[in-house]
């Protein structure tokens, strides 16, 4: 005889896996390859976070996000960031409109940020002033314009793309904004076998039409399920030590971190680790977070939260190497406890 609460949890977890799989399959109809990136984007979406996609042009970053919007039947908006954009172009502003009586009145026109799924394309081409227009929306899920505060609808997810190569005329994202992205996913080149399928799908007559396999309510329910996944104490300890391991001078920081890293992850990184690990645990058919789930999301969670020092940059050290070093040197809490 089993516990009814446990049965409900098992049903929720089963539903979660099925929905996740259906969304992933629908997006994969248009996106060829890039399984890790699709999984990462979906994980961040279901964990309630935002995603920063980084990759060279032509790898399908924008197509991935737009495909996700189609498959999820969510309100989708795209903001093409340019150097001359202003914060009002993102958040919205009050415009003077003619009223029925022949007079004029100020009416607020909300910006493109008010949507479920926001594609911030080439986000690093906007000035820091415009980029900072996203800060409140990403963290507080609301917009404050003058005396007006707009609550953003859930699910709200910002998926930003940036090109790591073209640095001329771009503005690197400030740390405060980088920290608000749950994952930073690096989009790489497709494999050799995927090229043929990409060419066939994109150069033929037929276009792939995606159908909606989910909606906002389902996504919110899935997010709620993710929040219910318990985290045992040893997994919490592991996440905390992992984040502390990226901070130079801490007790868990390896020599590589002490030498090359100037700024480690914030506590937001630990939150992101656990949220991502919960999704991973559900997808793995477990009902609690394990240390391996945390380790699995460590790279996308921590790579943009670690700021390399001058020496690290000149030595060509990458943040992925730093995270890998921390993972390798950090013992699992039970083993360390003795």
């Amino acid at each position: 005889m089993t516990d009814p609460n446990a049965d409900a949890a098992r049903a929720d977890a089963q539903r979660f896996r099925e929905t996740y799989e259906s969304i992933r399959a629908e997006v994969s109809r248009r996106m060829v390859g890039q399984a890790d990136v699709i999984e990462g984007v979906l994980t961040a979406l279901l964990a309630g976070g935002h995603v920063l996609l980084e990759g060279v042009p032509g790898l399908g970053k924008t197509m991935l996000v737009s495909s996700l919007g189609e498959a999820l039947k969510l309100s989708f908006s795209r903001i093409q960031f340019t150097p001359d954009m202003m914060p009002a172009d993102v958040r919205g502003t009050s415009v003077l409109v003619e009223s029925e009586g022949g007079g004029h009145e100020l009416q607020f026109e909300q910006g493109p940020i008010v949507a479920n799924l926001v594609l911030a394309d080439e986000i690093n081409r906007a000035t820091p002033k415009t980029q900072s227009a996203l800060l409140e929306a990403m963290q507080e899920r609301q917009l404050t314009i003058g005396r007006r505060t707009i609550k953003l609808e859930e699910p709200f997810c910002v998926m930003a793309t940036q090109n790591p190569v073209e640095q001329e005329g771009t503005y690197p994202l400030p740390e405060a904004q980088l920290d608000r992205f749950l994952f930073k996913l690096v989009v790489g080149y497709p494999e050799e076998g995927d090229y043929r399928e990409i060419l066939r799908r994109t150069t033929g007559e037929q276009e792939v039409e995606l159908s909606s396999v989910s909606n906002a309510e389902t996504i919110n329910a899935m997010r709620s399920t993710v929040r219910q996944v318990p985290v045992p104490e040893h997994a919490e300890d592991y996440a905390i030590r992992l984040v502390m391991g990226t901070q130079p001078g801490s007790a868990y920081a390896p020599e590589l971190v002490n030498r090359y890293v100037s700024l480690g992850s914030s506590p937001r990184g630990a939150q992101a680790l656990l949220l991502g690990a919960k999704v991973k645990a559900l997808l793995a058919g477990r009902f609690a977070v394990a240390t391996e789930d945390i380790a699995a999301v460590a790279r996308p969670v921590l790579r943009h939260r670690v700021l390399l020092g001058f020496e690290g940059l000149s030595e060509g050290v990458t943040t992925d190497q730093v995270v890998d070093e921390v993972l390798a040197k950090l013992p699992v809490p039970q083993e360390a406890a003795g």
Partner: protein
């Protein structure tokens, strides 16, 4: 039995098995680690044994102390004792339950299911997901309880030193075995110290006999190499004197008379009182009358030698300088004079004393002699000479003025001879401090009448607009050239710094 009880029982079994296994691994690791740390003892025991053997052999005893197998056993036991203690201490510590279950999770690929279920079972009320996690673990616990667990390998460092210390221990054991075969050393024969003493050619008549020598050996005429070792313990000054025989150098005696350095301790103590009474006179004047007579004789003898054209020996000067330089030190024994006084101060003081004590020409000559021996002639007021003429009159025609000496202008003839005693005895180098000033500043004031000037009116105008837009801010990223420069800089620093762990 409920599912929880089943799971709890299975977890207990798994914990027991995994804990026992981990404890064995840890105990083994602690034993090995402590053993490797104590590896120097492997060589220390034979080394001590060899040292004891050598000391016994040097003392004339039997070098073999213990049988060799016993030494080998001791050498092996020495590092084993701390290792066994470490292993026992490790076995006494208990492996935690969570660690044992985590090890089982790791080996069986259960992704922390067992340790998570154990934690949730210990908590009070469970959520649906916690209960689901516990039930999920109970499905796998029975299989896990019966699964075999492999002991993980513990990383032990220090094993590379084992061959080094082992080889060293073997070497010392072999040395010990060789020392054991040595014959006991005879104690009555001539030793190296006796040989040294015999080579010195010391007379043996008045020396006491060695206690270790037998009656027959004492009765027999002592061979040259049978000089007792007590002979070496005599006073070094006495030994020096005996080496040089009765023909002691007079300078040595004189030096000892002046400074007290060459005297024996008895002589020093007896003369301390007289030195303190005649405090300032520390160079010869403080000596006893007998010594003074001796010095007088010596000075006369030297005077004769000088008359015959002989120069003083070069070895004499440093000795005399030394005696002069130590005048301050010698006087510090019995006088209030500052012992750190310079050499020249001491000489000046001596000079004053000399002037006071001059009584007759003979004494003056002797003082002069002594002063010459110390490095220079002190001025004396008694050797008066006529003052030099200061007349600068040029000669008449081709004849030179016999009185002109070029010392000054036409003035009346100098009557006094000057204070020759104030002439510096030490050459003082000329010093030029700073540089001559530029002289007084001369200010000349000229009177000029003011003149009126026409001032043009300036029309105010607005500031013109900027002709070009403000350039864009440069990127904070490093350019390729600067990046290469920075990289080269850090590579150079890295080459100079000690090696560190490289990134993967």
């Amino acid at each position: 039995m409920s599912a929880d009880q089943h799971l709890s029982r299975d977890l207990d079994r798994i914990e027991g098995r995994a804990g026992t296994m981990l404890q064995g691994v840890e105990s083994r690791a602690a034993f090995m680690a402590a053993g490797f740390r104590a590896l120097p003892l492997l060589a220390a025991v034979p080394a001590v044994f060899v040292l004891v053997q050598l000391m016994r052999w040097a003392g004339g005893g039997e070098p073999a102390l213990l049988p060799l197998p016993f030494v080998v056993l001791l050498s092996l036991l020495a590092p084993g004792i701390p290792a066994a203690r470490a292993a026992a201490a490790s076995r006494a510590s208990r492996i935690s339950r969570s660690r044992a279950l985590a090890e089982a999770d790791r080996q069986l690929g259960l992704s922390d299911r067992l340790v998570t279920a154990d934690e949730f079972m210990r908590s009070g009320a469970r959520t649906g997901f916690q209960q689901a996690a516990v039930e999920d673990a109970s499905l796998r616990s029975e299989a896990a309880a019966s699964a075999a667990l492999e002991a993980p390998e513990a990383a032990i460092s220090g094993s590379r030193r084992l061959p080094v210390w082992g080889a060293l221990s073997l070497l010392l054991l072999a040395l010990s075995a060789w020392v054991s075969t040595l014959e006991p050393r005879p104690m009555g024969g001539g030793s190296g110290t006796e040989t040294v003493a015999a080579e010195a050619g010391e007379p043996l008549d008045e020396e006491p006999a060695d206690e270790g020598v037998t009656a027959e050996e004492r009765a027999a005429p002592a061979p040259p190499e049978a000089v007792p070792t007590e002979r070496r313990s005599q006073d070094p000054a006495e030994a020096k004197r005996s080496e040089s025989g009765e023909d002691v150098d007079d300078s040595v005696k004189e030096s000892s008379g002046r400074t007290g350095a060459g005297r024996s301790s008895g002589a020093l103590s007896s003369s301390a009182a007289s030195e303190s009474r005649s405090a300032p006179s520390t160079q010869g004047q403080s000596s006893k009358p007998a010594e003074r007579d001796k010095k007088k004789r010596e000075s006369k003898k030297k005077k004769k030698e000088r008359k015959t054209g002989e120069q003083p020996t070069p070895e004499r000067r440093p000795e005399d300088e030394q005696s002069g330089a130590t005048a301050g030190k010698g006087s510090s024994k019995g006088s209030n004079r500052n012992p750190t006084a310079s050499e020249w101060q001491s000489k000046d003081q001596v000079t004053e004393v000399d002037d006071q004590e001059v009584e007759d020409d003979e004494d003056t000559d002797e003082d002069e002699e002594e002063q010459e021996n110390r490095g220079g002639v002190q001025p004396s007021l008694r050797d008066r000479r006529p003052p030099v003429s200061r007349d600068l009159q040029i000669g008449f025609g081709n004849r030179a003025n016999p009185d002109a000496n070029g010392r000054g202008g036409p003035s009346e003839q100098k009557k006094s001879r000057g204070v020759a005693s104030l002439v510096l005895g030490v050459p003082v180098p000329d010093r030029v401090k700073g540089r001559p000033g530029p002289g007084p500043t001369k200010i000349t004031q000229e009177r000029i009448e003011p003149q009126a000037e026409e001032a043009g009116a300036i029309v105010a105008s607005a500031r013109a607009a900027r002709s070009r837009p403000v350039p864009a801010l440069s990127s904070v990223e490093l350019g390729p050239q600067l990046r290469e420069l920075v990289r080269a800089y850090f590579l150079a620093r890295r080459a100079a710094a000690p090696p560190a762990s490289k990134p993967q």
